[in-house]
Structure formats: structure tokens, C-alpha cells
Symmetry: C2
Subunit: 72 residues, 2 copies
DNA sequence: ATGTGACTTGAAGTCCGTC
DNA sequence: AGACGGACTTCAAGTCACA
């Protein structure tokens, strides 16, 4: 069970938005103030990201949290 | 800094939506499959809620995660 | 430049209660 | 009905070495 499709969807969305801006995981992680392996884990749907980190990611993408979670 | 205003905003939003539906914290927590003290903590802005629980809360409110995070 | 497993530690989350 | 505390277990956060 443990339906983690929401994590996968969120990861795909982050990856898509990051790429669209021409960031590498590395430079993007730095912008967010997070570790590159952590960002990688998010994009692979392995991390159950919480509000504070979602905000950091959204901010680095120039979006609101609500916009970042569009489709979820 | 450690700006936790996003947690407060999220908590206020949850409280507002829950009340609008006539739920008590207790019955709402049960619907979400979460603990009543945890829901209370969220509404007080003390909890850094992660994606899976946000989804459970959104579902119990009949909303998407994106709709739940409107304003964030 | 990214994937991945393993790891530590601080916070998430539960369960008991009282006010 | 809700705030809040203590004690507890589980998991997210954050980092590392190496593929």
C-alpha cells in the first residue's frame, strides 16, 4: 500500500520546472539552500517533503506553494 | 530568521476550512486518519506538515493539495 | 552532473492525560 | 469543544562516499 504517487507526482513536477529554468540539480539545490542529493531524492519521489522545504523550492522557482503543487 | 509564517498560514487555512465544514478537531482528525493533538498543533502553526499528510487533509476537505495551499 | 544506499539526529506524529 | 504537556516511536531532514 502506502500510495506514494503524490511524492512521485511532486518530484516530476519539480524536475520539470527546474529543467525548464535550465538549472542542474546541483545549482538548483544551492539556490534552495538544500543538498543536491536531497533534491535528487525529491525528484525521484523518495522524499516526503514538508512545508518549509516546499516553500524554499517554490521560492527558487519563482512560484507560490500552491502553484508548485498544481496537479496534486 | 527561520520564518515559520508559512506554518501559521497553513494552520489558519486548515482551521478555517475545517470549521466551514462543521467538523470538530476530533472528528476531523479521525477522518484524516491523524491524531487530534496533531491536528491541533497544525492549526496552531507548530507543525511542519509533509506531503502525505497534506494530501490526507486535502482529501478530507474535498480539495486538491494545490487548493489547500492557496495563499501560500 | 545524477543515482543510490547508508547513516545520524532532530522533528514528525501517537497516546496518555489535565486544564 | 480545544489548548497544551510528557513520554514515546517513527520518520523527514540533511549529509556522505561511491557508482
Amino acid at each position: 500500500m502506502s500510495d506514494d504517487s503524490i511524492l512521485k507526482k511532486f518530484g516530476e513536477r519539480v524536475r520539470q520546472l527546474r529543467k525548464a529554468r535550465g538549472f542542474s540539480q546541483q545549482s538548483f539545490a544551492a539556490t534552495c539552500g538544500l543538498d543536491r542529493t536531497y533534491i535528487g531524492g525529491i525528484e525521484r519521489g523518495e522524499r516526503n517533503v514538508a512545508l518549509r522545504n516546499m516553500e524554499a523550492i517554490a521560492k527558487s522557482l519563482g512560484l507560490s506553494v500552491s502553484e508548485l503543487t498544481t496537479g496534486l
